[in-house]
Symmetry: C2
Subunit: 283 residues, 2 copies
Amino acid sequence: MSEAVTAPAAVGDSEFDRDTAVTERAPGLHDIDLSEGWTIFGAVNGGYLLAVLGRALADTLPHGDPFSLTAHYLSASRPGPAVVRTETVRAGRTLSTGQASLLQYDEEGREVERIRVLASYGDLDALPDDVRTSAKPPAIPPPGQCFGPEGSPVPQGDQQPIADRLMLKLDPATVGWALGQPSGKGEMRAWFGLADGRDHDPFSLLLAVDALPPTAFDLGISGWVPTIELTVHVRARPAPGPVRVAITTRNLAGGFLEEDAEVWDSQDRLVAQSRQLARVLRG
Amino acid sequence: MSEAVTAPAAVGDSEFDRDTAVTERAPGLHDIDLSEGWTIFGAVNGGYLLAVLGRALADTLPHGDPFSLTAHYLSASRPGPAVVRTETVRAGRTLSTGQASLLQYDEEGREVERIRVLASYGDLDALPDDVRTSAKPPAIPPPGQCFGPEGSPVPQGDQQPIADRLMLKLDPATVGWALGQPSGKGEMRAWFGLADGRDHDPFSLLLAVDALPPTAFDLGISGWVPTIELTVHVRARPAPGPVRVAITTRNLAGGFLEEDAEVWDSQDRLVAQSRQLARVLRG
């Protein structure tokens, strides 16, 4: 008897969709149970949290697609119950602006804010088709020549819950750090998708920009690199299939660094750009 | 009788400092009169407004230097009275996070929000001296070989109030658009300072990142390019003297573009990085 062929999960009916869905308790107040499944070394992944906040804002604002979304990470989120408070700052014809906070409760039942987000939303399908992009897609070998957690020297996400949910294949040129030979260039490149085959949408792009190992590893730094602030611009609705993510750091100074990510879809379209400011905590 | 030699204005005692100073009316509530002097074609400059909001947050938070500041521009500010509401989101040891809104009043006396800001502040002087920056300062000819409003073909700011307050000298390689010959590269480079000789500080860097003509001009687009969202990272306290600002656009698509700015000080240090998402409104 042959194994049943599993069909890829559909957008709207996948683990990612279920785990990022918020339930509206009252206008501007949403409940969510942060899933253990998106943790790495006990910490809930920042991109997953961004998708949760992004969906709560999409439910709140008259427009459904994040165009520009900025998050300040205030304290570490834990798996379990959380609430998202949302506010409409401005509802315009083409764009709407909103604000959101992710909150959890400490042992004494006090609210602790985890993340605050400020974002402008629009309708990606309403944009004209003009493209005059001088940026070029990153040169990444085909996925079969890239490194995933299985049978690779890369410990990224190994045996971590999130690893089961991601399809992450690192460019061999940016995995030297795992063998003690970082390139020193501050680059990280990978193919990225959901493990269950769900295609990308604007919310999974929020996950894509913060799912690779830190570029600091490629600079020979092995400590924790917590994100202070992350801004994503979603520029187009992604075509089906995995995306390519290229991240670079140009300025490591004073204990902080920026990480710039570009996300390219299967049609060679630059679908998202992000920049984060992160702190380098030496191990 | 010879003309009196005017000494350069000092940080803290210059037109920029006076025009961005907010007065605290109550905790979290600040008054300001937005100066006519920082307008261009009737609109108050976005970078000047950022400096106003940035100073109100510095007065509110336990830390005084903007590390990462994001602004969403909601409606056009007009010269005249405005209020800035500020809120401390989180006060930490190394970093504090705050939020601010700039508000004005319409004819019926209703509050209209102009800009909302989310920012994290720290202490630039407390940072270690390590610098491992792979970015290179832009190659700009000396100021004497660059173009200012006086006697140049560039109409930027000509006879506009803000032009009297800025020292802006554009790289000849990025002024072709003013002669009908845009390079098509989406670049803009300039020397930038205050006209009264005031040296830079973190707040004038907020002005620096949004003071050059739009890169869209260098792409052959002449319409208005309003900023939707702008994020600035201030990475070091700038040394005395004018800074060099280099702005590039890599992705013009769907009627939107990003503008990435780097600001370099006289000691060849990358003191600020910014990215904005702007909309292209065809003229």
